[in-house]
């Protein structure tokens, strides 16, 4: 119940933030934060719960971004429909590629998903007839929804905020349900899960597809914040960012990843780091975390509780 209370408080605070903060810069950071936290949570579903270290998420992020932009600019679809299209396209591609990819062993899975992401980047750069190549699609129009234009940073803030709440809500409902339990069972000990009647493939595929869809949707919204989509949208930097959030928060911990995302977005800005320096620090965070606290901040708390229990029961 404490969690519910704190969550409500945080949501309320975020909802009224634009009333007090008028800096476009800060609002822009917050928008990035909302979008990135969804991507991190989606990656957490795939990696932290299903146990699949999938670099393909970067590919779906890019697919979503381009799909939404192309749908609006070339397809003349509305913003909402385009974003839904982005999610759907990502999901379909995830479904089709998921089948063969999820069957491979650990080593191969990582490398194939990595290659998939690189392929998407190459396609973005080289399939000029569709993606406009290296120049990308600039001057994306302001997103509108039934005539309401998200023209100002404040309005876009609420759009991103609503999306984040919705997406995280879906993920929360999922990971705290039995499906989350079964995913974790499969991740921990697939042979045991099978001997207990669990079929791993449908669950893994489901996580893979949902993760792709949510990330595609996030990408589709984010390009309208950037107002441009080009091959740099598939820069590895995004994947590294999502990974850091998951690793630091603790793969497999919903709240850990959400809180870590918020911190990692806010802190570097507060400390006024340049982009490069921020990434260097992310790199250090990743290395240190992997050596010292491989299960993230959530893992540290978990281990403390474990030791306390051990002492109590000994």
């Amino acid at each position: 119940m404490r969690v519910a209370g704190l969550t409500a408080l945080a949501l309320a605070a975020l909802a009224i933030l634009p009333l007090f903060v008028h800096s476009n810069y800060v609002l822009s950071i917050a928008i990035s934060g909302f979008i990135f936290v969804v991507c991190a949570a989606a990656l957490n579903l795939i990696y932290g719960f299903a146990g699949l270290l999938s670099f393909a998420q970067l590919g779906f992020w890019g697919i979503g971004g381009y799909a939404a932009a192309i749908a609006v600019v070339d397809g003349k679809l509305g913003f909402a429909a385009s974003v839904m299209f982005a999610a759907l396209l990502a999901a379909v591609i995830a479904l089709v590629t998921g089948f063969p990819i999820l069957r491979t062993n650990r080593h191969a899975f990582v490398i194939v998903t990595l290659t998939f992401a690189l392929l998407c980047a190459l396609v973005a750069r080289d399939w000029i007839s569709v993606t406009r190549g290296p120049l990308g699609i600039p001057s994306l129009p302001v997103p509108t929804f039934f005539g309401f234009a998200f023209a100002s940073p404040t309005r876009f803030y609420y759009l991103a905020f609503a999306f984040a709440v919705l997406a995280l809500g879906i993920l929360y409902a999922l990971v705290t349900s039995r499906i989350g339990l079964l995913l974790k069972a499969i991740k921990q000990n697939e042979a045991l899960a099978r001997s207990q009647g669990i079929s791993p493939m449908p669950y893994k595929l489901f996580a893979f597809v949902l993760g792709a869809a949510l990330t595609g949707m996030a990408g589709g919204i984010y390009v309208f914040h950037l107002r441009i989509v080009d091959p740099t949208f598939l820069d590895f930097y995004y994947m590294q960012t999502f990974l850091i959030f998951v690793v630091l928060g603790g793969a497999g911990s919903f709240w850990g990843v959400v809180i870590a995302s918020a911190l990692m977005v806010a802190l570097p800005e507060a400390l006024r780091f340049t982009n490069d320096l921020r990434m260097v620090i992310y790199g250090f965070v990743l290395v240190v975390a992997m050596l010292v606290m491989p299960r993230g901040i959530a893992g540290v708390f978990h281990d403390r509780r474990l030791n306390a229990l051990r002492a109590k029961l000994a």
Binding site: Y47, L53, P100, I101, R103, T104, N105, R106, H107, A108, V110, I111, V112, L114, T115, F116, L118, L119, L122, V123, D126, W127, I128, F236, Q240, L243, V247, T274, D276, L277, M279, V280, Y282, G283, F284, V285, L286, V287, M290, L291, P294
Partner: protein, 295 residues
């Protein structure tokens, strides 16, 4: 499209040189995987460090190619040692994802760190070999490419000899082929792993030094190389060095030829598509056996 024989041969020569350099990188990757079962995401960045080291060392030797290249190899070898002792040695073989994330972190530190220190601007590197070359019939081969190919070949021969005839090399092969058996006969895994990493990173340094005058030097140069190197290592069979080399040369040739023949669009993509297909169909690679092998 009319392609003259000369042009084709020119492309072939360039392709072989490129392939040999890819090979240096891929073989190092395979070596590290063979002795540690770690996929080194920072491998490309180590090549980049080698290139930068070459760039900074050249003026110290009046642009002398060989001394500067040697310095580059020493720098990256030392870097490899440092990374191994501080970080890689602490990761268990079974923790595959953890090793990926650690090396990913290292790659980020190196890449963005170099970018922060030296900006992303590409720099041209000049050596005492200049940009002249010699003619072979109608084909022109620059000295820097010629020397690069020679250096790469020499490195492969040296590596081959080391693996076959020295205690050091045999130990590495033993660990890669059957770790438990190797441990039982007293081979020290830490030592072998450390040596393997140092050899692999030294090869990176050589590749970086050789690439520096051919391509320009910039912090992001490792990124483009590394993913191809992964592709090669996987297609050849993770841990299989001979396989990585063969595939590397093929890749160099294909890239060089397809630049002329096909639309650039699918040139790079085709490599990756081939790789995905091979990994899905034959996960142990073209040359790999059930176990990872060296050579």
């Amino acid at each position: 499209m009319e392609i003259s024989l000369t042009y084709f041969l020119q492309l072939t020569v360039n392709g072989i040189v490129l392939g040999l350099l890819y090979g240096l990188i891929a073989v190092g990757l395979a070596l590290i995987f063979g002795v540690m079962e770690i996929v080194n995401f920072a491998h490309g960045e180590i090549v980049m460090v080698g290139a930068f080291a070459m760039m900074f060392a050249l003026p110290l030797f009046a642009l002398g190619y060989w001394p500067a290249a040697l310095v580059a190899m020493l720098v990256t070898g030392a870097l490899g040692l440092l990374l191994y002792e501080l970080l890689l040695a602490r990761i268990e073989r079974s923790e595959f994802e953890r090793s990926i994330l650690v090396t990913l972190g290292i790659s980020m530190i190196l890449l963005y760190g170099m970018q922060y220190l030296f900006t992303a601007t590409p720099r041209l590197v000049d050596t005492n070999l200049g940009f002249e070359g010699f003619e072979l019939g109608d084909i022109r081969i620059t000295w820097i490419r010629c020397v690069a190919a020679f250096a790469a070949l020499a490195a492969f021969v040296a590596l081959g000899l080391i693996l076959r005839f020295t205690q050091f090399g045999l130990a590495m092969r033993a660990i890669a082929q059957n770790r438990d058996a190797a441990l039982m006969i007293g081979i020290k895994p830490r030592q072998v792993a450390r040596n393997g990493v140092m050899v692999a990173t030294a090869l990176c340094g050589l590749a970086g030094a050789a690439l520096a005058p051919i391509q320009s030097v910039q912090p992001a140069m490792g990124q483009a190389l590394i993913f191809k190197a992964f592709a090669l290592t996987v297609i050849g069979g993770l841990g299989h060095m001979g396989g990585a080399l063969v595939v590397a040369i093929m890749l160099g040739l294909i890239e060089s030829w397809s630049a002329a023949f096909t639309d650039a669009v699918w040139q790079e993509a085709s490599v990756f598509i081939v790789m995905i297909v091979i990994v899905l169909v034959r996960p142990e690679g073209l040359f790999g056996g059930k176990r990872v092998r060296l050579g």
